[in-house]
């Protein structure tokens, strides 16, 4: 496993095999790009456009379909929600993983059970509550609930529990409090998990259609998933425009993924402490 060694044959073979499998994973992505360059009458009739038609990409940034505000709104909602969710989840996860308080397991099961409620049936009570809190039809209706992720608490709890207790115990005996341990020891060690959760959570907020649909009514506040609805016409769908917009919408997610990847790979070095 020495990275400085020359090309290994078996490793090369595995790489090629995985590339073939990977190609199968990206077909929809390629179809999206291809369709975004086709003209209206070409959709579905061919895999590749007859000629590169840039008009779809142009019109999503101008005129009726202007995606700039949707983009900004989505960035705002997703970034704040994700930042909040990572922090709040990590905090609670530490409580569940590293402090044995009374009723811990029962409380955790209550948490988990709340994950099981189908969102459709709590739309109405949420709507009433948001209306009462005066946040219906504002971005806060997405951001505030978005900062609380049960999945995040569960995931980070699992990872924090994997951090050897000996490390934190010795720090505790040295007089460090839980907060110090959390910030100084656990968070840096859990970087791969935090980065992974951030990637996933961001993708959820970025693609969240249902909450945005119900809780935002002013077009000025619309996020990208609502903007994409513009391409659903009355009795047919403008697939070219929709795919052009979707191509633009995937860019930030890829960026976040690449950014997060760095920390996942970096984690290898830090895991040495586990020994």
């Amino acid at each position: 496993m020495n990275p400085t060694a020359g090309l290994s044959k078996s490793r090369l073979l595995v790489t090629v095999l995985m590339l073939v499998a990977g190609a199968f994973m990206i077909v929809p992505f390629l179809w999206m790009i291809s369709t975004s360059f086709q003209s209206a009458s070409e959709v579905f009739s061919r895999w590749l456009p007859s000629k590169l038609d840039w008009s779809n990409h142009k019109r999503i940034w101008t005129g009726n379909y202007n995606f700039v505000p949707y983009y900004m709104n989505s960035l705002k909602v997703s970034l704040i929600s994700t930042a909040g969710a990572v922090f709040l989840s990590a905090f609670a996860a530490y409580g569940f993983a590293r402090v044995e308080f009374k009723g811990r397991n029962a409380l955790f099961l209550v948490y988990l059970s709340m994950m099981m409620i189908p969102p459709q049936v709590i739309f109405v009570p949420k709507f009433i509550m948001f209306n009462w809190m005066n946040i219906y039809n504002t971005h806060w209706a997405l951001i505030l609930p978005g900062m609380f992720s049960i999945f995040g608490v569960f995931m980070l709890r699992q990872f924090f529990m994997g951090v050897p207790r000996e490390i934190t115990e010795s720090a505790f005996l040295d007089g460090a409090g839980h907060f110090k341990i959390f910030f100084r020891l656990i968070l840096p060690l859990a970087k791969p998990a935090l980065a992974t959760f951030a990637i996933i959570d961001f993708s959820w907020h970025w693609n969240d259609y249902e909450n945005a649909l119900v809780f935002l009514t002013s077009p000025k506040l619309y996020t990208i998933p609502l903007g994409l609805q513009n391409f659903i016409l009355e009795n047919n769908v403008d697939y070219n425009g929709m795919m052009a917009a979707s191509s633009a919408a995937i860019v930030p997610m890829i960026a976040i993924f690449l950014l997060g990847q760095k920390y996942i790979i970096q984690g290898i070095a830090s895991s040495a402490v586990k020994g």
């Binding site: 579905f44 970087k191 009514t217 009795n235």
Partner: protein, 445 residues
């Protein structure tokens, strides 16, 4: 070292997020502010007299650029005291959910358009549609004609049906001529259509394509004539006419192969309108919305003339067949709106000609105050010679006895499941009809 870099990165994310929140925050505050105080300060009614500007929101499912934007732009320039904003919702479960939730607040939805009687019914039940028959200054029956009455709920109008609905068979006249077939008469039947389709199909050309929205036009028109239930309160779904019609379609799929097999159509998401305009089908069963693409010769180039035929009845001696069509686009005033008078003023204007800019997309106004010549001119501007005038006048602008579908969605879905089983050859025809009737009866019980 690494630790500090990591914190720098996360701090910068939080900062960016905070900044974005800052910019957007102002917008939010304005939004929230606009909805509550302005709503209360403008006491209901006497629009325009107070001098303060009334703001109305109109919800509809037509994309803004397909006409509605032009409509409200015209209104806003004529009426500086009442500003209307158009808000587009998608007419699916999600979009209607959005509208229904907004209607509950009564703040950001003053006017709304419903596209089916069943959805309007739900809104009447919820108490958000104002009774428009109580208005003395507009006679919907007189303005919209006899078809309007189909939109009455408990004898009252809760929405004004503003547009003529149309559904018919679009014909590629070139292909008909080549096959030596005349334009079919108005009273043709499915057997005639089946024979046409068999003669018209070629390699890579279907005899008939059906748009999803028209798939059940004949079933619905038949049951509208028969009535959902018979005298004993039993379901009428198990009727001979449906049986004959389903059998015809099945034969066309599997024997004649003149129309796509059901599974094929389901799984290839056939863009039927594009296929028809590209000459990949000789006949297309669909509504007036095809005009939008058919008139767009730049994106959908074609050189054949289009002719029209009615949706065929099942048998020549079928009594009481109702044609799909009638009126649609029911415009309602939200009973919880604080600006009902202004909204009503807009509604009358919209119905009596304000909606004309939408005619080019196929939406012909139903009100008699609008000259139909003008609407037709808008519809066919510049493409007159692409249509067969005679059949256009007889079919598209003809008048037929129509219906409004009032079967509950649950029953429509159950019916669809059963005929899908038949078209996918999972169930024989008699079982299919028996199951449709059984599930219908279970529902009405």
């Amino acid at each position: 070292m690494r630790k500090s870099k990591w914190w720098m990165a996360s701090m910068s994310v939080v900062l960016t997020a905070g900044l974005l929140a800052g910019c957007g925050g102002n917008g939010d505050a304005k939004e929230g502010g606009a909805s509550s105080p302005s709503g209360s300060s403008e006491s209901s009614g006497n629009s325009g007299s107070s001098g303060s500007k009334t703001k109305l929101t109109l919800w509809g499912a037509v994309p803004a650029e397909a006409g509605p934007q032009a409509v409200i732009d015209a209104w806003n320039s004529e009426n500086p005291d009442i500003e209307v904003e158009y808000l587009r919702y998608v007419n699916d479960d999600g979009g209607n959910l959005k509208l229904d939730t907004a209607l509950m607040t009564g703040q950001d939805a003053d006017l709304f358009i419903s596209y089916s009687l069943t959805r309007l019914q739900k809104r009447v039940d919820a108490g958000v549609a104002l009774d428009l028959s109580a208005k003395t200054d507009y006679d919907i029956d007189a303005q919209m004609g006899p078809d309007a009455a189909l939109w009455k709920i408990d004898g009252k109008y809760y929405g004004m049906p503003t547009k003529k609905n149309m559904s018919f068979i679009w014909l590629n006249k070139q292909m008909l001529d080549d096959a030596g077939l005349p334009i079919p008469p108005l009273d043709w039947t499915w057997d005639d259509l089946k024979a046409y389709a068999a003669k018209l199909k070629k390699d890579n050309v279907y005899g008939l394509l059906q748009h999803d929205s028209s798939y059940t036009a004949t079933l619905d028109g038949t049951i509208a004539g028969l009535g959902d239930t018979n005298a004993e309160g039993k379901s009428n779904f198990n009727n001979e006419l449906w049986k004959s019609h389903l059998q015809t379609l099945h034969d066309m799929m599997f024997v004649d192969k003149s129309t796509p097999e059901y599974g094929e159509q389901l799984t290839s998401k056939m863009p039927v309108d594009t296929m028809f305009l590209k000459g990949e089908a000789a006949m297309l069963s669909a509504g007036e919305f095809i005009f939008r693409n058919a008139n767009n010769l730049a994106e959908f180039p074609h050189d054949f003339q289009i002719a029209f035929a009615t949706v065929p009845r099942v048998t020549a001696d079928q009594k009481d067949f109702k044609y799909p069509g009638g009126l649609g686009d029911a415009l309602s005033v939200n009973a919880k709106s604080k600006n009902q008078d202004a909204a009503w003023k807009f509604a009358k204007w919209y119905a009596d000609g304000g909606m004309l800019p939408m005619a080019s997309g196929g939406r012909l106004p139903s009100s008699k105050s609008v000259s139909s010549d003008e609407a037709i001119k808008l519809l066919l501007q510049g493409v007159e010679n692409m249509y067969d005038v005679d059949s256009l006048n007889k079919v598209v602008f003809g008048s037929f006895e129509s219906f409004q579908l009032s079967i509950p969605q649950q029953v429509i879905d159950a019916r669809k499941e059963e005929y899908e089983k038949y078209f996918l050859n999972k169930q024989d025809l008699d079982t299919t009809l028996a199951n449709m009737a059984k599930r219908h009866e279970e529902f009405i019980k």
